[in-house]
C-alpha cells in the first residue's frame, strides 16, 4: 500500500536527517516504526504526509508511492484526500475549538454532510468519552481525551492509512493500553492500515504485524513483530530486558556491555 524508496530528507538545506529510508506498509497491517529520540521517525511520517515545509525540511531523493501513486512533492491536502491521515506527536488538538468542532475540522476534505454526521457517531462509538465532552473546549480535555480526540480527528477524513506518531506519549499506562486496543480495533473493524511510530516498543510490538528499527536516520533492522520481540538486541536496547525477568546488576555492567550487532 505504502512504499518508501530510499528517502532522503534535508533540513535547512544542510542537515541530512534521513539517509535513504526504505520501508513498506502492506494493506490491512499495523507496522511499527521504532527507535530512540532523534532517530528520524517523526521526520519519516512528515515526509509521507507532506508537511516538512513549515519546518524547512525537504525531500531531496527517493520516492514515496501510495497505492501506485507518487505522493512525494504533493500538497498535504491532496495526500489527505488520497487517504492518508497523520496524527501528530503531542496530540496537537485545536485548543480553542470544542471537541466536536475539532472532529468537524478533521472532515474538512469531505463534502457529504450525511456521511460526516455518521462518521461523527462512529468516532463517538469508539471514544464514548468524547461524546460526553463534545461541547468542551479541547484545551480543557485531559491528556488521554486529547489523544483520543486527535485520533478521532484523524479518522474523520476516512483514511485508508493512518500515521500515528507516539500516541502513548505522556499517558498513564492504563490509558496507553486503552488507546492501543482501540488502534487494534480500528485496524480490524474499520480496515485502517496503520504505520505506528513509538518509543514504547513493547506495547507497539504487541499489536504490530511487522516492525522497523530506526537509528540515526537509517533503518537498521526489520522483521515480523514476533521475531523482533525475541531478538536479543531488541530485548536489550528497546524492551529493557537482558534475560527475561532478570534485572541487571552493576557487576554485569562492569565487565561486559552488549554491543549493538548491527553496528559492526
Amino acid at each position: 500500500m505504502l512504499k518508501l524508496n530510499n528517502i532522503e530528507v534535508v533540513y535547512d538545506r544542510t542537515i541530512l536527517v534521513l539517509h535513504g529510508v526504505s520501508l513498506e506498509v502492506p494493506k490491512g497491517q499495523i507496522v511499527a516504526l521504532l527507535g530512540a529520540n532523534g532517530a528520524g521517525k517523526s521526520t519519516t511520517l512528515k515526509a509521507i504526509s507532506g508537511v516538512l515545509k513549515p519546518e524547512r525540511g525537504e525531500i531531496i531523493a527517493g520516492s514515496i508511492d501510495f497505492n501506485g501513486v507518487r505522493i512525494d512533492h504533493r500538497e498535504p491536502a491532496e495526500i489527505v484526500k488520497l487517504g492518508i491521515s497523520q496524527v501528530m506527536e503531542g496530540r496537537r488538538v485545536f485548543e480553542h475549538l470544542t471537541a466536536e468542532e475539532n472532529l468537524i475540522a478533521g472532515a474538512h476534505t469531505r463534502h457529504d454532510r450525511r456521511q460526516i454526521r455518521q462518521d461523527l457517531e462512529l468516532v463517538y462509538g469508539y471514544f464514548p468519552r468524547l461524546a460526553e465532552r463534545r461541547h468542551v473546549k479541547a484545551g480543557y480535555l485531559s491528556g488521554g481525551e486529547q489523544q483520543m480526540l486527535a485520533i478521532g480527528r484523524g479518522l474523520m477524513s476516512r483514511p485508508k492509512l493512518m500515521l500515528l506518531d507516539e500516541p502513548s506519549l505522556g499517558l498513564a499506562p492504563l490509558l496507553v493500553e486503552e488507546i492501543f486496543e482501540i488502534v487494534l480495533r480500528l485496524n480490524q473493524e474499520e480496515d485502517v492500515t496503520v504505520l505506528l511510530v513509538e518509543q514504547n516498543a513493547a506495547m507497539a510490538l504487541s499489536i504490530a504485524h511487522h516492525g522497523y528499527i530506526m537509528e540515526n536516520g537509517r533503518i537498521v533492522l526489520d522483521g515480523p513483530a514476533e521475531v523482533l520481540r525475541n531478538n536479543e538486541d531488541i530485548k536489550e536496547f528497546y524492551l529493557g530486558l537482558s534475560e527475561v525477568g532478570v534485572r541487571k546488576s552493576y557487576r554485569d555492567v562492569k565487565h561486559y556491555r552488549r554491543r549493538k550487532r548491527w553496528l559492526s
Binding site: 504526509s49 491536502a77 496524527v87 475549538l97 474538512h108
Partner: protein, 294 residues
C-alpha cells in the same frame, strides 16, 4: 448627566465601527501571525474608491457598496498572494516592514489615481439627530452601528457555523496540525485578508462620510491599534469590547476635555489609553488566552 449619556451612547455607536475594522486586523494576526500596519490604509483606500464611485453620475449607493465590497475582497486576496505569500516563514520583522511599505504604496497610489484633495462621501442619511429623551442620536452613527452589527453577527455565524469558519479557527490554533488534516492553509491566509478588506470597506465608507476622504483617513484606521491592545491582539470578542470602550472614551474626552484644551483630544486619547493598558496588561484584557490544564 444627560450630557454624559449622550456622549457615551454616540461613542459606543462609533465604537462598533472601530470593532469591525479591528476584527479584520485581529483575523489576519490570528490566522497568519502578521501584524498588518496597512489596515488603516485599506480603510482609506476603500473610502477613496467609494467617494470616487459616488462622484460618478448615476451611481446608486447600493451598487457602489456592492462594487466596493467585491473590490476590497479582491484587493485583500491580491495583497496576500502577491506580497505576503512569498514571505511565509521569513523573520517577523521582514513581514512587518512589508506591511508598512504597503501602507505607503497605497497612500501614493490613491494620490496618483484620484488626487490628494479632500473629497466628500455623501450618503443618503438625514442630518438632523433623532432625539431619544436626553440623548441626541446622530443618524449616521446609527447607520454605522447597524452596518457594524450586521457584519459582526455575520462573521460570528461564519466562524461558528460554517465549516470554512471552523477551519480558519483551526489554522489560528495550530497550522501544522491543520495541514495534516487536509486544510489548505494558504487558502485560509488569503481568506483572512479578504475578510479584512471587507471590514475595511465598511470602515472606509462610514468614516469617509463623517470626516471627508483624504489620506488622513488612514490615521483613523490606525485606531485599530489601541482597540486591539485594549482587547488583545488575538481575541475576536476582545476586538469588539475594545472598540466599544475606545469609542466611549474618545467621545467622553471630546465632550469634557476639548473645551479646556481647544479640541483635538479625540485624536490622541486612544493612544494614551493604549500606553496605560500596556503598562498593566501587555497582552490586552482578553488576548492570549492560553489554556493550561492543571
Amino acid at each position: 448627566m444627560e450630557f454624559f449619556f449622550d456622549l457615551v451612547t454616540n461613542g459606543l455607536l462609533v465604537g462598533l465601527t472601530y470593532a469591525l475594522v479591528a476584527l479584520g486586523f485581529v483575523l489576519i494576526y490570528k490566522a497568519t501571525s502578521v501584524i498588518n500596519f496597512a489596515q488603516g490604509d485599506l480603510v482609506m483606500f476603500a473610502g477613496y474608491a467609494a467617494a470616487v464611485m459616488l462622484g460618478m453620475r448615476g451611481m446608486p449607493v447600493w451598487l457602489m457598496a456592492l462594487v466596493l465590497a467585491v473590490g476590497m475582497v479582491v484587493l485583500g486576496f491580491v495583497i496576500e498572494r502577491g506580497i505576503l505569500r512569498p514571505l511565509v516563514g521569513q523573520p517577523v520583522i521582514a513581514v512587518i516592514m512589508v506591511t508598512i511599505g504597503l501602507s505607503f504604496v497605497l497612500q501614493g497610489l490613491v494620490a496618483i489615481l484620484w488626487g490628494a484633495s479632500t473629497r466628500d462621501l455623501p450618503l443618503p442619511v438625514r442630518m438632523e439627530p433623532y432625539i431619544l429623551g436626553p440623548v441626541f442620536l446622530s443618524p449616521i452613527n446609527l447607520v454605522a452601528a447597524v452596518i457594524a452589527i450586521v457584519f459582526l453577527i455575520a462573521f460570528g455565524l461564519f466562524f461558528t457555523r460554517s465549516r470554512l469558519g471552523v477551519a480558519m479557527r483551526a489554522v489560528a490554533d495550530d497550522q501544522q496540525a491543520a495541514m495534516v488534516i487536509g486544510i489548505k492553509v494558504p487558502r485560509v491566509f488569503a481568506l483572512s485578508w479578504a475578510i479584512a478588506g471587507l471590514a475595511a470597506a465598511a470602515g472606509g465608507v462610514i468614516w469617509g462620510n463623517m470626516l471627508g476622504v483624504d489620506t488622513f483617513l488612514a490615521l483613523v484606521g490606525l485606531k485599530v491599534f489601541p482597540v486591539v491592545i485594549l482587547g488583545g491582539l488575538d481575541s475576536i470578542a476582545g476586538a469588539i469590547i475594545g472598540g466599544l470602550i475606545l469609542g466611549a472614551v474618545e467621545s467622553l474626552a471630546a465632550g469634557y476635555l476639548d473645551p479646556y484644551v481647544g479640541g483635538g483630544t479625540k485624536d490622541f486619547i486612544p493612544y494614551v489609553l493604549m500606553i496605560l493598558v500596556l503598562f498593566v496588561r501587555p497582552y490586552g484584557f482578553f488576548g492570549h488566552e492560553t489554556i493550561e490544564r492543571v
